[in-house]
């Protein structure tokens, strides 16, 4: 499969990294030679230093031989033009990033008008992800699979004292649930029956949603019980705006702190309902406290600066606010953040990359989530008739250690598989796999050509 990525920003680079693990040839086009230089030394990709919107450049690269073009330059309009042009020039599919909130209601029209196959809006996707987390009662919620029947959540083992220092096979209360991974000091461990759980572990559990809910109820901390009424959002950028709009729709009081006065006015004009926009620096702790930070039910740091998001989240943590989410763009911070006790470090690049990967895997794959800062992913597949692994006991498949079949949904029923379970045609399979095993996963499920 040949993929062209136009725009070598954070998202472009991330996508290239994620794709290289599969058998995909990636070409990156950008007009900044310095960035390309850095990419060339790190990754096995073709880099082209040109303006990706130029037709001669695209033709010279023989665009018609490509299966997919992803336009992720900094300009929405350029992305739309490129995605539309490459289709005309013979590329099979195209994806464009469009992030302007003014366009967010007309993405379907843009898709059909410009003949673009997929449009992504990273800020909207991120805001949706935060919303989903805020609306759930879990410590952490990764999302639902198989139409919401199967969930994956992570729990801090501290909240489950019964589990500590026991091998997995002796842990009780996990009937019909699978621990698919353990995060220990930033590393991922794929557990087996004899793995012993340690005090600071975070466990990832997959299973039927109802069973997950039982566990989640056991864990509920008092703050989680009260419903969400007041939320403070630090940073009135696009994510903050989408988030505020969604919260207001649910009747939640929103307070937005934004440093730029003109942006404040724009927000005040655009947000309707129970929202108040405060003009001030995010680092101004006195201001946050005067605006009754301590009374908030949730604090969300989504300014453009990781450091501000992080520090203010820590302050919120000290004030014992129920839910704290910080947007952290820099990968290297993520481990620190989770150790510091912030509920969720959200990374819009990862969310968007998941979205695009799901699209690339195409047809049979229903959803893909990148987990643990991209070290692992969860894939949902519908088993087709031609699959070679059908009707064989799982223990005979010789799956690599990094791949776990978490659930099989057979005719609407969720089955937590054991070694004797078999996959039948038409089943939905939710698979957890380390990123390093994704190529193996693809051979097992024959996802290579993506359609």
């Amino acid at each position: 499969m040949k993929v062209m990525i136009i725009g070598a920003g954070k998202l472009g680079t991330k996508l290239a990294t994620a794709m290289l693990n599969g058998e995909i040839n990636v070409t990156i086009v950008d007009n900044n030679p310095k960035i390309l230089e850095r990419i060339k030394t790190h990754m096995d990709v073709l880099t082209v230093n040109e303006n990706g919107a130029k037709m001669e450049v695209l033709e010279e690269l023989n665009i018609s031989s490509y299966d997919l073009t992803i336009a992720v330059t900094s300009s929405d309009e350029t992305n739309m033009v490129i995605s539309s042009m490459v289709k005309k020039l013979g590329c099979k599919r195209s994806v464009a990033r469009v992030r302007n909130p003014d366009y967010s209601n007309q993405l379907d029209f843009i898709k059909s008008h410009f003949n673009i196959d997929h449009v992504i809006n990273p800020e909207l996707a991120t805001a949706n992800e935060i919303m989903r987390y805020l609306m759930e009662n879990y410590t952490f919620y990764f999302g639902g699979y198989a139409k919401g029947k199967v969930s994956l959540v992570n729990f801090d083992i501290k909240n489950l004292p019964d589990f500590v220092n026991k091998p997995l096979k002796e842990v009780k209360g996990l009937d019909d649930l699978v621990i698919v991974a353990i995060q220990r000091n930033g590393d991922i461990i794929i557990p087996h029956g004899n793995t012993i759980l340690m005090e600071n572990d975070i466990i990832y559990i997959m299973g039927h949603r109802q069973n997950i809910n039982v566990i989640a109820n056991m864990l509920k901390t008092p703050t989680n019980k009260k419903t969400l009424k007041k939320v403070m959002i630090l940073g009135g950028g696009k994510i903050g705006f989408y988030l505020a709009t969604a919260l207001i729709e649910r009747g939640i009081h929103v307070k937005i702190i934004e440093a730029d006065l003109d942006r404040c006015k724009e927000l005040a004009d655009k947000l309707h309902g129970d929202a108040i926009v405060i003009h001030g620096e995010g680092t101004d702790i006195n201001l946050l406290e005067e605006e009754s930070l301590a009374d908030m039910d949730a604090f969300i740091g989504v300014t453009g600066l990781d450091e501000i998001n992080l520090f203010m989240s820590l302050r919120a943590k000290q004030l014992d606010i129920g839910k704290i989410i910080a947007k952290i763009s820099r990968q290297s911070y993520v481990h620190i953040v989770e150790k510091l006790g912030i509920n969720m470090a959200i990374n819009s690049v990862n969310i968007t990359a998941s979205d695009i990967l799901k699209y690339i895997r195409g047809g049979k794959v229903v959803s893909v989530s990148l987990l643990l800062d991209g070290q692992a992913e969860v894939t949902e597949i519908i088993a087709s008739k031609k699959l070679s692994i059908l009707d064989k006991p799982i223990k005979e498949l010789n799956l690599p250690k990094g791949i776990i079949i978490g659930s099989i949904v057979h005719k609407g029923k969720v089955i937590i598989p054991n070694g004797d379970s078999r996959i039948q045609a038409g089943d939905r399979i939710v698979v957890f796999s380390l990123l390093s095993e994704v190529p193996a996963l693809e051979t097992f499920f024959k996802l290579k050509d993506g359609r």
Binding site: D269, I276, V277, I278
Partner: protein, 481 residues
Amino acid sequence: MNYSMIFKVLGYLLLIIALSMVAPFLIAFSVGQSDAIPFAISIGLTALTGFLLSRLPTSEKKKILTKEGMAIVTFGWIFASFFGALPFYLSGSIPSFVDAFFETVSGFTTTGATIIDDIEVLPMGILFWRSFTHWIGGMGILVVAVAIVPIMGSGAFHVFKAESPGPITDRIAPKIMDTAKILYTTYIVITLTEFVLLMFGGMTPFESAIHTFGTLGTGGFSTRNGSVGAFDNSYIYIVISIFMIMSGANFSLYYSMFKGKWRDVFTNSELRLYLTIITGSVLAISISTFGDVYVSFFDAFTHALFQVSSLITTTGYTTFDYEQWSTFSQMILFTLMFVGGSAGSTGGSIKVVRILALIKLIQREITKMLHPRAVVSVKFGNQPVSEDTLLHIAGFFMLYILIFIFGSVLISLEGIGILGATSSVAATLGNIGPGFGFVGPTHTYSGFSDASKLLLSFFMLLGRLELFTVIALLTPRFWRT
């Protein structure tokens, strides 16, 4: 200032006024009453003046800008009232010219304040003309000129803006002429509907027409000395109440309805506040007067509905001497005199939309007290209102109250009691008509001196043209080039 252009437009305006006198002339002629000849003379004089003015040569740069627009509107209204007063004066129905002028200003500005103590003896043509001025003035005299005469070009918007009620002037159609035509069509359709409905209630076609003009223009001239109350008919009370409320709502909303945009109508925050104020006042007054003044709750309700609709829309019809009501009920009515109709309606006074903006401004100040760094925008529905508009509205309110206070002080020289002095100014400035005390529902304005009558005429004009247009004309800076 482009004087020749201003007079040319005023010439066309007079031709339209002359044309509109043809209807009362035909009525007077057909019933053979004494006012036919005075009407013929008035038409002749008005048409001749208008024709001569419209023949004025205009300079090359014939542009109408904001200043010209304001001058045209103000002088247009004064000219129209002057020539409109001729039939009253010439027919001898109103022997004093000042009185005739007052009556005509009151008609065109849709105030409905009268100096005639016995209306019922007047000839039909005069009665018709008196009420017809309401109907013409309701929509704006110059809107007609804008809609019919194409000479003003892009300057039409300045005229339209200076004359149309409310702080924000919207165009429904891209062209001002088309906007004026749409509004007039709406106006005529509603007029015909009420005319027919009143005839069902047993009114003669003549009386039905008179009361329809008075309702639609939110004027208040009647054919009876006892106003609408003389008919003593609940059906008529309710029909007129409903049409008064309709005339006090923004006319562009009817166009939205016609276009099927019901959402725009239901979410219109001005309309909601307007209807809320009416409902609240009607309930409060019906409860307060039930058992006290009225035996049946239905009577209490219909009279309360009628009187509340009449005063908030600044019509000024009465069904009952409301000075017999409880002080609480009278106070509500007095307060409503400062609310008025919606923007873009034929109603006068401060207007609901301004009240709404002021409430929101106060809310914003409170929010800012609690959150000193908050950035809050004032919105009507989901539409943010610009700071300029807000300042303009706050300024308008201040000026309105100042004029009310100083006007009352001047009128108090008449020695008619505080209630009479304040309510006569509130009733003329708000284009309402009847007030309390000396100008209560059973009285007329005939007791004032000529000076006071002219001052009150000036207040009516000020109120109808929304203060700033006229006040600006009085400043020396306006005339400096």
